[in-house]
């Protein structure tokens, strides 16, 4: 699917101008006159970014940014404003905006920011996809295997693990083999990386 640029801008001239500009570089734009309209829209799951006017009737651009963060929507935001001040831009950037442009802006600046945002979103989506996959694999583990995982990635030997969970070394070995297979880890280093992605905590060696 194609990348998607969302534009939330209350001024219709500016909205159409942005559409024209984006179209001229082959980008598809979806236009919204207010933050409310944008929130109500069903967004496709494709790499996207949001060009957002700071001042809007009703929910302001900065408020929308906050709302999106609260709702765990990680769309990269490029702010545009007719007269931004420094505190405003600092607030926006601190809250994670990609760029803060003052109208009239250089088109290249906007297009660069859009490209940066889209690739940022693409990477984020890819990562999120990978994580989801890993989580799926994690879910496929048996309770015993899941119990084993933190101990294994903490660097304990099969013998130590066996002692800790009160079973035989051979059983641990079988479980460990299943674990590696289900997690699709080719090497122990792979498994360690996955565990880190999944934020599986290391366990302290028992004294």
């Amino acid at each position: 699917m194609k990348d998607q640029v969302f534009v939330v801008e209350d001024d219709s001239s500016m909205r159409n101008a942005l559409k024209n500009l984006l179209r001229s570089v082959g980008l598809e734009a979806r236009l919204f006159a207010s933050a409310q309209e944008f929130l109500e829209d069903k967004r496709p799951e494709v790499p996207s970014c949001l060009i957002l006017d700071v001042r809007l009737p009703g929910i302001s651009g900065l408020d929308l940014q906050k709302e999106l963060a609260k709702a765990n929507i990680h769309i990269p935001i490029i702010f545009i404003t007719a007269h931004g001040d420094i505190p405003m831009s600092v607030r926006a950037m601190k809250a994670g905006a990609v760029e803060f442009l003052t109208k009239p802006f250089r088109d290249q600046d906007l297009l660069d920011a859009i490209q940066a945002s889209l690739s940022q979103d693409r990477v984020r989506r890819q990562k999120a996809g990978e994580l989801a996959e890993l989580e799926k694999r994690l879910q496929s583990l048996t309770p015993r295997e899941r119990e084993l995982l933190p101990l294994v990635v903490s660097g304990r030997s099969n013998k130590e693990v066996a002692a800790e969970i009160g079973t035989s070394e051979i059983t641990v070995k079988v479980h460990r083999g299943n674990l590696m297979r289900k997690m699709q880890a080719a090497t122990f280093a792979d498994l360690l990386r996955m565990a880190a992605e999944l934020k599986i905590p290391h366990t302290q060696r028992q004294a």
Partner: protein
């Protein structure tokens, strides 16, 4: 004042009256023996009335002689018989009293007349009396002073020639018609003096009617040049103040207005870039570029319009009355304040009646009123955080006016301030000067409309104004 008649005439006339009485008495003696009493008493009274006390008494003396000679025994002699004496004396007494009554009556009449003359002359307003053919009959002192003519110069000339400037001739003829129909005419108009200069007057004219016919017309003039000049100065001062207040308001709005201009300029730049890119492609996308260019033209016009509106609000112009659609005026002001509303987190809702008849008004002044009302509402809602900040603007049609309402959900004002809010220098704002509503009201009233305020339930305020529908196209 009338000049006193000469003594010869007064005494002569007394003799004539008495002679006439004698003649009539002798003539009717055979029919009514005592009729002489009435004739002589009448003669004495008329002599007293006509020639005053002296002539009256003269008539009494002559009458006594004649009555004694002809009508009281012994006849044909000036002697009076003793038994006729009381009769004669009673007649004498009656004659004296009668002559005194006649002269007193005359005196009273003259005094009254003198009073009226005095009143006419001394009235501080100019008075003109003309006959049915507009010829001057009489004027007072103030008239000669106001218009610079002497009474002699005015005699027998028409007021139309004398004091009516050609440009209001039609109006004068029209009011003459109304006068002829027996009506009173009140006018504020202009008249010319002898030296050709103009004088602003307020005049009242009324006909003098006798036997159902207009025989003359009175006109009373009051010089209102001073009043008019003062009024014009007041108007000028008000316009000045309104202009200052506009500049102040525009100053407050400066950043929002900058935004309003920056917006189309931003769009122009962006569309320009788009057009360049369309044309830079191989092959060039001429059609898409053209579309972007059309947007540029439209936005440039929009920016120019905003600037034009601001300029008209900032320039000090003379009042210029035109037929206006009030909805259009409302929309223009909303364009200027839209950004300010965004900035303050306020949404404006409009409910404008379709097909409103035009009103006769000054566009800039009416924009200023709306600007004041909207800015007041926005200020009143600044401190509001527990409810939506809502601004409603409504226009509607009344039987013979157009009415506009501006309602907010702000803090309103205390009940005791309900009338004070229109006073000059009254303000509930920290940095207000308290002229906005005062100026707005004077503008609306100058347009023949009304502006008033009421507190809205449960919160906020409603400001109403009406403007009369322009019926005449002038």
């Amino acid at each position: 004042m009338q000049t006193p008649r000469s003594a010869y005439i007064r005494y002569g006339v007394a003799l004539v009256f008495v002679g006439a009485a004698l003649g009539l008495s002798l003539l009717l003696r055979s029919l009514v023996p005592d009729a002489f009493l009435i004739f002589f008493l009448s003669a004495v009274m008329l002599a007293g009335w006509f020639g005053r006390m002296g002539a009256g008494l003269f008539a009494v003396v002559v009458s006594m002689g004649l009555v004694g000679y002809y009508f009281i025994a012994p006849h044909q002699a000036f002697a009076v018989e003793v038994e006729e004496l009381p009769y004669f004396l009673a007649f004498l007494f009656s004659a004296v009293v009668t002559s005194w009554l006649g002269s007193a009556r005359r005196h009273a009449e003259e005094k009254q007349r003198a009073h009226l003359d005095e009143l006419f002359e001394q009235t501080p307003e100019a008075i003109l009396l003309v006959n049915a053919h507009d010829r001057v009959l009489r004027v007072n002192k103030e008239f000669t002073r106001m218009f610079g003519y002497t009474a002699r110069e005015l005699a027998d000339r028409t007021s139309l020639d004398l004091i009516i400037p050609p440009r209001v001739r039609a109006e004068a003829l029209q009011s003459r018609e109304r006068l002829a129909a027996g009506q009173h005419v009140n006018l504020e108009t202009v008249r010319t003096r002898r030296d050709g200069s103009y004088v602003d007057v307020s005049e009242v004219s009324f006909p003098v009617i006798a036997d159902g016919k207009c025989i003359a017309y009175y006109t009373i003039f009051r010089d209102i040049s001073e009043r008019k000049r003062a009024f014009e100065q007041l108007q000028k001062a008000q316009a000045e103040l309104a202009h200052l207040s506009r500049i102040t308001t525009m100053g407050e709005l400066a950043s929002s207005i900058a935004h309003e201009i920056n917006q189309p300029i931003g769009a122009i730049a962006t569309n320009g870039n788009a057009a360049v890119r369309w044309l830079g492609q191989n092959p060039p996308h001429v059609e898409d570029a053209g579309e972007a260019l059309e947007c540029i033209v439209r936005d440039a016009n929009r920016a120019a319009q905003v600037i034009g509106r601001i300029r008209s609000l900032l320039t000090k112009n003379q009042t210029a009355m035109f037929h206006l659609d009030i909805n259009e005026v409302i929309r223009e002001v909303l364009v200027l304040t839209r950004e300010e509303m965004n900035r303050r987190g306020t949404a404006a809702k409009t409910d404008l009646a379709a097909y409103l008849p035009p009103v006769l008004g000054d566009r800039v002044q009416l924009q200023q009123v709306l600007l004041n009302l909207i800015m007041n509402s926005l200020d009143a809602m600044n401190a509001i955080s527990d409810r939506p900040r809502e601004l409603r603007i409504k226009s509607s049609r009344d039987p013979d006016s157009v009415s506009v309402q501006v309602q907010d959900s702000g803090q309103g004002w205390e009940a005791r301030h309900s009338t004070a809010i229109f006073d000059a220098f009254f303000t509930t704002k920290k940095d207000g000067i308290g002229m906005g509503l005062t100026i707005s009201r004077s503008i609306i009233e100058a347009h023949g409309g009304r502006l008033w305020a009421e507190r809205a339930a449960p919160h906020g305020a409603i400001l109403h104004f009406t403007l009369p529908i322009a019926v005449k196209f002038e």
